[in-house]
């Protein structure tokens, strides 16, 4: 079984990663770090660039967690996470939450909400350290 972390290069994403590491160690399970982009804009700040991923890998290797880092292009972040959670024997999904206004959620939707509702396994949602 694995713990799946939805990773974004932001304070929320880092918090999710930390929480995911703790959970994976506690459960003695593998850690799967997923970062996605729809890939339809020229610039996507939520898509981790190579230096950031290298940093994540280094941290995980230093902590001695059994891990895998994946990047997926094409789908919606929420859909990719839910789909992977079903395929890859995932026991827990860890995501970061950020503060959104009601109007913002109405217009843009909320990936976190979609994951919480659709995922077939428990979801741990953490906030960025204040």
């Amino acid at each position: 079984m694995t713990v799946l972390v939805g990773y974004v290069p932001s304070p929320e994403g880092e918090a999710a990663l930390r929480a995911g590491i703790d959970e994976a160690r506690l459960r003695g399970e593998k850690l799967l770090v997923l970062n996605t982009s729809r890939g339809d804009a020229l610039v996507d700040p939520r898509f981790a660039q190579e230096p950031e991923l290298a940093h994540v890998r280094e941290d995980l290797a230093a902590l001695g967690v059994d891990f895998d880092v994946r990047q997926v292009l094409g789908g919606d972040a929420a859909e990719e996470i839910v789909a992977l959670a079903e395929r890859a024997e995932v026991s827990l999904v860890v995501i970061g939450l950020r503060r959104r206004s009601a109007v913002g959620k109405l217009i843009m939707g909320s990936a976190a909400q979609q994951i919480l509702l659709d995922a077939g396994c428990p979801v741990l949602a953490v906030k960025a350290a204040a």
Binding site: R38, G39, A41, L42, D44, P45
Partner: protein
């Protein structure tokens, strides 16, 4: 002095609130399309042309001038921060600009690009004011054979000087000339290439061609290559220049201006060649050769000045002779025609207030662009985060609306789709788009002048060779066409050095 008075009158007209507002709208749209790769000022002017039918021609041109200059400013931002040129004219800027940004000097690179563009744009527009009356005086003396020769030169230059392949340039030009032929022959009244469709008798509107090839073609192309790894954008603060940067920038600005203006004014000069020349010159003259390739500020300052000066230079032949030398000028020329204004030497006599307001609006737009770009460059870069499906949906909407608005004919929408597929195929097979547009716009006019000369001479071919001007132009054409042959058979040690520089 007369011109100066006219220019002052032009300024007086531009500062009217409505005109200032349109200038602002123009430069904002221009910068935005400049920042976004794949969307250029030519496409934008074509898209907005039908929207401006309700306006005074003067107001439409104030907006177009803003878009034209704005595109040159915006292209540098993408080049520097993303290493993807926003426009073809800022390819060279990316070489040193992105290196500077990676070395943490993005603000200086953006600042030297913006201020250099301002300096070059202002000097270039001044040169435009000074030079154009002389070109007009010269152009008035030209007869039909001379015009025919000049347009032939334009065709030859646009196919063989620009782009990697002459064959592809020629294919594209012939496509354009063919599209330009559709309709009723003005002399004999015969229908040509109308396929028995009555709506085609009026010809295919240039707006439909430009929008189809630029906008629909590009949208299809992007749709076919939608998913790609998002690139890294370099975060940047407010652009500024230190004292040493000013010292190193001002000479490249001036030299870049000197390269850019004349090349813009030449047929098929465009902005690409002078930016490369400026880069090569700065590389040779710099006191910091060790920085080149690692982010030298001269390599940003020179080419950015060159591309803005060439934008000003482009307007000289467009206004004075009616010859477009780049895609945006070609579409603006089509805009003149759609307002029933005949570009050429008589433009200054007949529509003098329009011309001078246009020129005055260039000065104003240039200043607005500096104010918009210097503090706001990081905000412009955020445009790159827009998902392209949204962007191109908007473009397709404007494209269909524009194509329909021209004649209110459903047939134009089918033509738009066909031309869009043609534009997609041209991108797929690497055909340049500029020769096609030039062919569509200049083709009918070249035919008119050519046949006029033949009518005057009673069908004698000698009528096509009118005077000293046409002799000189035909010589240049022969040189351009024969140059590759000559180079193949006369091996010279010099040519290798030319390639290296």
């Amino acid at each position: 002095m007369d011109n100066l008075n006219n220019l002052m009158q032009g300024f007086a007209d531009v500062v009217a609130p409505m005109n200032l507002l349109l200038a602002l709208v123009g430069v904002v749209i221009g910068t935005a399309v400049g920042v976004l790769p794949g969307i250029g000022p030519a496409m934008t002017v074509a898209l907005l042309l039908p929207v401006t039918y309700g306006m005074e021609p003067v107001q439409a041109f104030i907006m177009f001038a803003g878009i034209f200059y704005g595109g040159m400013y915006g292209g540098s931002t993408t080049s520097i921060l993303l290493n993807t040129p926003g426009e073809s004219s800022s390819v060279v800027t990316a070489i040193e600009g992105n290196k500077m940004a990676k070395a943490g000097r993005a603000s200086q690179a953006l600042a030297t690009a913006a201020i250099g563009s301002f300096v070059a744009g202002t000097i270039g527009t001044l040169l435009l004011v000074l030079v154009t009356p002389f070109v007009v005086d010269f152009a008035v003396s030209l007869g039909a054979p001379d015009y025919f020769a000049l347009m032939l030169l334009s065709f030859v230059a646009v196919t063989s000087v620009l782009g990697a392949s002459r064959l592809r340039g020629l294919v594209s030009l012939l496509l354009g000339l063919t599209v330009g032929l559709v309709g009723i022959d003005a002399v004999s009244g015969q229908q040509r290439l109308t396929l028995g469709i009555p709506q085609l008798a009026d010809g295919i509107d240039v707006v439909v061609v430009a929008v189809g090839i630029f906008a629909v073609g590009e949208a299809l192309w992007v749709a076919a290559h939608l998913r790609r790894r998002p690139a890294e954008i370099i975060p940047v603060g407010r652009p500024w220049l230190g004292k040493s940067d000013w010292k190193r920038s001002w000479k490249p600005w001036l030299r870049g201006t000197l390269f850019g203006f004349p090349f813009g004014a030449l047929p098929a000069g465009g902005a690409e060649i002078p930016t490369f020349l400026s880069y090569a010159t700065e590389k040779r003259l710099t006191k910091h050769p060790e920085e080149f390739g690692k982010g030298a500020i001269e390599g940003v300052a020179g080419p950015e000045a060159a591309n803005n000066a060439s934008a000003a230079g482009t307007l000289v032949p467009m206004l004075a002779i009616g010859l477009p030398t780049n895609a945006t000028a070609a579409v603006m020329l089509a805009a003149f025609q759609s307002y029933g204004i005949q570009p050429g030497p008589l433009l200054f006599a007949r529509e003098s207030s329009l011309v001078w307001v246009l020129i005055a609006s260039l000065f104003v737009g240039n200043l607005l662009l500096l104010l918009l770009n210097l503090p706001l460059a990081p905000a412009w870069a955020k445009l790159l985060r827009i998902p392209r499906p949204y962007l191109y949906a908007g473009i397709l909407f404007f494209a269909s609306m524009g194509a329909y608005a021209v004649n209110a004919q459903p047939l134009d929408l089918f033509l738009l789709l066909i031309l869009g597929l043609l534009g997609f195929a041209m991108r797929r097979f690497g055909l340049p788009v500029l020769p096609l547009i030039v062919g569509v716009i200049l083709g009918p006019r070249a035919e008119l002048q050519g046949r006029r000369s033949l009518q005057l001479s009673g069908g004698e071919l000698s009528g096509l060779v009118g005077g000293p001007v046409s002799y000189a132009v035909y010589t240049v054409i022969a040189l351009v066409l024969l140059w590759p042959l000559v180079r193949r058979f006369v091996p010279r040690p010099l040519s290798r050095e030319g390639v290296r520089a």
